[in-house]
Symmetry: C2
Subunit: 198 residues, 2 copies
């Protein structure tokens, strides 16, 4: 192609096609296939951020949140999807994700690649209001999909109520209305037998 | 749930899970499964809009473009996916899509539902700079996926070079750099035998 800048951008977009093959632990609510993939997940939580942005306790730049969410899991093309419950036991994960970010965002023209890689780093660092809100919706969606599919993922991963509560507390507490909602669905999941107490 | 406004919002998000089961005509480039679905498509072209925004000939509000693209195909949950080549022969389509928009965006709280429905209507009307740019990336991605999968979809739909060129011309000409790129990949597809001349 004649325009090499545009070709780098197209190459990046074609590389991202692979995210449609990274299957997650969350089950789908209305689909005969079992589990969702990263492409679907990044779309779904981006819409979630649009719809639930009013619950952020701080002013947020929703455009920044959307750009962050739309690329936050592309590192999993190389590094794979690891559940929040398994992350702390996966010692090489941060390094694998870092190498993946370098390779994948590196496909883009220089300034543009580093900008998107910066958004991914901001998401991981969890310090800005935008990153905190983005991380909260990223945690709420799997809880919801789990609740609407009778706790399938919790049973697969053999996690119990207290573990789910504690693993999600810090991230979701940053957006109190979402944390309140998450606690309610966890409580109901316990009562309905979707998840075990201990 | 105690907060009925939030419950309406969650209901909308869960309804959208069904978009992950609306399969499109485009083949996937790097996935053992054959075709992509609407959830994946809305994510992929949203990232495309971020990456290619510099080619818009007019100033655009990228936040508006992203919100538009993230919901532009949810009507297909009810109305189904119809290829650009079949749309003009599907007399009931506009009506089915309109009814779908009313039902699906209607799940949201009043003001929020009409805002997102308005974005979908803006996309369909194709008048604003944001809608024109959004529509151009929505057309470019299927051409790309087709090129990178040796023209599978063109062969399935039995469309030839001239038809693809004319069906996409008006939408893609709105963003000249993307139209130029699209014409190049179509030309190469012709030379490589991915698509027939007539």
């Amino acid at each position: 192609m004649t325009n090499s800048r545009m070709q780098q951008q197209i190459d990046f977009l074609i590389e991202l096609d692979r995210a449609k093959n990274i299957y997650r632990n969350s089950y789908l609510t209305a689909v005969p296939r079992r589990k969702e993939n990263d492409g679907e997940h990044m779309w779904h939580i981006s819409v979630m951020a649009i719809v639930l942005q009013e619950y952020s306790p701080q002013e947020i730049d929703i455009n920044r949140v959307l750009r962050m969410l739309l690329v936050h899991d592309v590192v999993e093309i190389d590094a794979g999807d690891v559940s929040v419950y398994a992350r702390q036991n996966d010692k090489g994960l941060a390094e694998r994700e870092s190498a993946a970010a370098k390779r994948i965002f590196g496909i883009l023209p220089d300034g543009q690649g580093s900008e998107l890689k910066g958004l991914w780093e901001e998401f991981v660092a969890a310090q800005t209001p935008e990153a905190k809100f983005a991380r909260a919706v990223d945690r709420l969606m799997p809880l919801l999909l789990n609740y609407y599919t009778q706790g399938n993922t919790w049973q697969d991963l053999k996690v119990h109520y207290q573990q789910v509560l504690e693993s999600n507390r810090r991230t979701l507490e940053a957006v109190p209305a979402l944390w309140e909602y998450a606690r309610q669905i966890l409580e109901e999941s316990l009562q309905k037998g979707y998840i075990k107490k201990i």
